[in-house]
Point group: C2
Chain length 124, copies 2
């Protein structure tokens, strides 16, 4: 049974591209890039959702998908639901080539909208 | 020999509290909390540094310190240099007790100011 408060919750989901095999430190940086980009965008364009997200402790979840194709399909689903999303491209100074997409960020948005897209992905 | 561009670089350093033994996913979330808090604060109060940081790719480094005392000493040094800093407290739903300090974030600020504080800490 679905908890109503939980479905109403505003959150951000960061999907790490697992096939890159990033170190935990590198992964954390890429996740943080996505979170800052989504937060800045929400602050500019969706003030109410942004405020609610901050108020409730700026909830973030980090999950994983395997390939670039997986990330693109998830991004497509986010766009279809009119959820904000961002693909983080790494500057490529270490570990991966410049321009490599490392993380897909979705939100902040209501759990009821995001969970159908990312709810079955494994936690990082 | 110190590279001048590197010393002028504006960056953010996130110091993870290693003794907590957080999972990589949990650590990434805490690092992202710190990054968002510092970014929002910089946007409101230090527009020029914020813009420069974004322009140069919002550089972030994740390093580690062992204990809460280590984090507090680093925070003290950041304040002494008038660098922005934040201590992230976890909501405590998983892994650690509510209110546990997980990450110290410093910046965004010039590398020449931050490096003397965090430059010798191991990367996460």
């Amino acid at each position: 049974m679905r908890d109503r408060n939980s479905a109403d919750e505003v959150k951000m989901v960061l999907v790490l591209r697992l096939e890159l095999g990033l170190s935990p430190g590198k992964a954390a940086v890429q996740v943080a890039h996505a979170a800052v980009m989504l937060a800045e965008s929400a602050r500019d364009r969706r003030g109410e959702v942004y405020s609610e997200w901050l108020r409730a402790g700026q909830k973030k979840i980090v999950v994983t998908a395997r390939t670039m194709e997986d990330l693109q399909e998830l991004a497509r689903q986010a766009r279809a639901r009119k959820l904000p999303s961002v693909l983080v491209q790494d500057a490529g100074l270490t570990e991966v080539a410049p321009g490599t997409v490392t993380v897909l960020g979705i939100g902040p948005g209501p759990a009821r909208e995001i969970d159908p897209i990312t709810g079955s992905l494994p936690l990082y």
